[in-house]
Symmetry: C2
Subunit: 378 residues, 2 copies
C-alpha cells in the first residue's frame, strides 16, 4: 500500500520498462500512455467521442494559445477545459511558450519571461512563469507544465547553457507560485506540476538541468528540447541519462515523441508519457501507421487497393473503408480523408501502447519491440 | 397493387404534398427526401457512418468530376460508387456539367456537348450526352441525370431559350443512349434516368421545356436552373407550373434547394426530392439550423452559451457539445467545428423531412409548415 499522497505507483516491470498508475484529480491513468495533441481544445479532425472510441485516455492542449482564444474566462464559464471539450479523460496542458517561438510572434526572452506579439490582436503579451501557472490552474487541467526556455536548433552550446539556467530559474518560480495558489486544496484535488529539463544533446548541460530541476521536487519530469530530429542514438542517450538521474517513483515524460518505434525505444528506457503531433500530422500528409510498417498511401500502387489501411487493425476505419477510397479522399484534399487517416493512426498508436503494457506485464517487452521494429525498419 | 415495372408509388397525400416510395435497383426509398452533396464521393467532413446515423438515405455525387479523379476505372475496381464510399443508401449522380461552368474550366458549349479544360491535367475534354450516360452507368449509381445545358444567371431570355432547346436535344440523346446500354438488363436492375428542365423563371420557356422533356418519358423529372437566388415567389411559381404539366406518377426533383422552409414550400407544391450544399456550406460558414430558426453561431452572444446548438434536437452533437465549444472551434477554423456543425445541420434537415412525412400522413402538413415557418421567419 502507498500513502494517499503518493501520486505514482509502479505495478509491473520488465527491465527499465514499467507499467504504472498516475493518480490525478480526475482519476487514475495507466502508464505508459500517448497523448494526442489538442492545441486549441480539439484534436485536428477528431471529436472527443472519436477519442473515446480510439481509447485515448489523455490529450495535451496549449494553455497559452487557449488563453488568447477563446480566453480563460470563456472556458471557466463551462467550469474547465475537460468539460469544455466534453473529454472524459485526463487533460494535460503545456505552458505553450514553445509554439510562440515563431519569428512572427516572438519578440524577446528575458529573465522576466517571454514577450510575444498576440497573433490575433497584435498587442504585446508577457508570459511569465507565474502567468503560465495561473492560466493552467484556471483551465483546471489535471497536469500542468512549467514554463521552460527552449533553445532553438540553431543555438550555440553557450546559448543552450543560458536556456538551461533560465529554465531552472523559471521552474523555481513556477513551483513556488503553483504551490501557493493550490495551498488551500487537499492533495487529491490538486493539479500536478511537471518540471521540464533542457540541454539539447549536450550531456553536461542536460545533466546540470536534470539535477537542478530534480531539486525542486516536481510531480513528474518532462524531457524538453529532444525528439526534434537529432540522431536517434543521441536522443536515446539523453533519455538514459535523464532516467539515471531522476527518482524512480516519478513519471517521466518525453515531450514531442510520436513515432511508433521511437515510443517503444523510450518505453524500454523507462519513459512513461508521450505526446506528439507526429501521428496526426503524418495522417494528414498521407503516411499511415500499420502492423507492416508505414504505408505512404499517396503511392500509386494503392490506387485500386481494396484492403483496409491495416489488415491487422480492428478500428472503425479499417472495418469500413478501403485504401483505394481513403487514398482518393486524401489526394483530393477531402476533409473526410484526413479524418479517417487520423482516426486510424491514433488508434494504431494507442493499441501499440496497450500491447506494450501487456508485454511488460508478461516480461516479454524486448521480443515485442523486436517484432514491431522488424516492420518499421523495412 | 402496382405492376413490377412501376417504379414510383404514392402512399399518402395531403393537398399536393405526398409521401411515396421510389424503387431503385438497390432498394426502395421513401419520398420526399433530401440528398446531402457528396461531389467527390464524400460529404464534406462526414463519413458514410455519420450519414447512416443522421438517417440520410441518399447522396448525390458529381459523375463528371469523379470521372476525372479518381477516374471511372478505379471506382469500377471496387464494383461501384456505393461500395467505393461504403454507403448503404441510394447513390444519385448528376452529369456534373454545371459545376464546370466556371470560367477557368469551361471552353465552349456546342450542339455536340460541353468542352472543358480538365482542371487536373489541363487537357481538353468534350462531355457529350452519350459520354455523360456512359460515366453514370459505369459508376452504377441508382439514379442518373441527363446532361443539361444550364443558362447562367446573367443570360438574356434569348440565350435561355437556346439553352432550353439544347437541353431537349441532349435529353433525347441521353435517353436513347441510356436505354440502348441497359437493354440487356431486367427492369429491376436498371439505373433510373431523370430528365431535367430549364427555362429560368420565364413561364413560356419553362413550359416549353417541360412539355418537350415530358414527351421523352423519363423515370423522374428534375427542375434545373432554379433555386439560384431568384425571388421565392418566382421559384414557387415555376414549381407549380412544372407540377401542373408533369405526370403525377413520376417523382419530381427540385435541384439545388436546401433551405428548411424552402423545402417545405416545395413539398407542399408536390416536390419529392431535393439536394443542396446549402445545409453543409451553411454549417461551415457558422449558420446553424435549429427548431428556433437559424442561429448565426459566430455572433458574440453565443461565446459562453452552454446550451446545445438546438435544445430540441437529439443528434449526437446536441447531446454532447455546447454552443460555446462549437463556436470556439468554428472561430478558430478547427476542422472539428465544421464536422460538428455539418453533422447537426444535416440531422436537422433529415429530421424535418421525417416530420414532414408524418404530417402528410396525418393530413396536417399545412399546420406543420406554419409552425416551422414561424421560427424561420423571425
Amino acid at each position: 500500500m502507498h500513502s494517499p499522497d503518493e501520486r505514482f505507483t509502479i505495478n509491473a516491470r520488465d527491465g527499465k520498462a514499467r507499467v504504472g498508475v498516475l493518480s490525478t484529480k480526475k482519476g487514475p491513468i495507466e502508464t505508459p500512455f500517448f497523448m494526442p495533441v489538442a492545441t486549441k481544445a480539439a484534436v485536428k479532425y477528431l471529436s472527443s467521442e472519436d477519442l473515446e472510441e480510439i481509447g485515448a485516455k489523455a490529450v495535451i492542449s496549449n494553455s497559452f494559445i487557449l488563453s488568447l482564444r477563446p480566453g480563460v474566462e470563456i472556458i471557466k464559464k463551462t467550469s474547465n477545459l475537460g468539460n469544455f471539450m466534453n473529454f472524459p479523460g485526463i487533460n494535460v496542458t503545456d505552458s505553450g511558450g514553445f509554439q510562440m517561438y515563431e519569428k512572427k510572434f516572438w519578440i524577446k526572452t528575458s529573465e522576466e519571461g517571454i514577450l510575444f506579439r498576440n497573433p490575433f490582436s497584435g498587442e504585446k503579451i508577457l508570459l511569465t512563469p507565474e502567468k503560465a501557472m495561473e492560466i493552467q490552474l484556471a483551465l483546471q487541467s489535471e497536469i500542468a507544465m512549467c514554463l521552460d526556455c527552449m533553445p532553438l536548433i540553431e543555438n550555440t552550446k553557450e546559448e543552450i547553457a543560458g536556456a538551461v539556467e533560465q529554465t531552472t530559474l523559471w521552474a523555481g518560480r513556477c513551483k513556488e507560485h503553483h504551490e501557493k495558489l493550490q495551498k488551500h486544496l487537499p492533495q487529491q484535488q490538486r493539479q500536478l506540476l511537471f518540471g521540464i529539463t533542457q540541454g539539447g544533446i549536450h550531456s553536461d548541460l542536460r545533466k546540470k538541468s536534470i539535477e537542478d530541476i530534480r531539486k525542486l521536487n516536481f510531480d513528474g519530469y518532462s524531457i524538453g528540447g529532444l525528439a526534434l530530429g537529432e540522431p536517434k542514438e543521441e536522443e536515446y542517450k539523453m533519455i538514459e541519462l535523464q532516467k539515471s538521474l531522476l527518482p524512480e517513483d516519478k513519471p517521466l515524460y518525453l515531450m514531442g515523441a510520436g513515432d511508433p518505434l521511437e515510443l517503444l525505444e523510450a518505453i524500454e528506457r523507462g519513459v512513461d508519457m508521450f505526446d506528439s503531433r507526429f501521428p496526426t500530422q503524418n495522417a494528414r500528409r498521407k503516411t499511415i501507421f500499420t502492423s507492416q510498417g508505414k504505408v505512404r498511401i499517396g503511392n500509386k500502387k494503392y490506387a485500386t487497393d481494396q484492403k483496409p489501411l491495416d489488415e491487422n487493425c480492428s478500428c472503425k476505419v479499417c472495418k469500413n473503408h478501403t485504401r483505394t477510397y481513403i487514398r482518393h479522399l486524401l489526394m483530393q484534399e477531402e476533409p473526410l480523408g484526413k479524418h479517417l487517416a487520423t482516426y486510424h493512426n491514433l488508434y494504431y498508436l494507442n493499441t501499440l501502447l496497450e500491447k506494450a503494457k501487456e508485454a511488460i506485464k508478461k516480461e516479454s517487452f524486448t521480443t515485442f519491440k523486436k517484432q514491431v521494429a522488424k516492420a518499421y525498419e523495412n
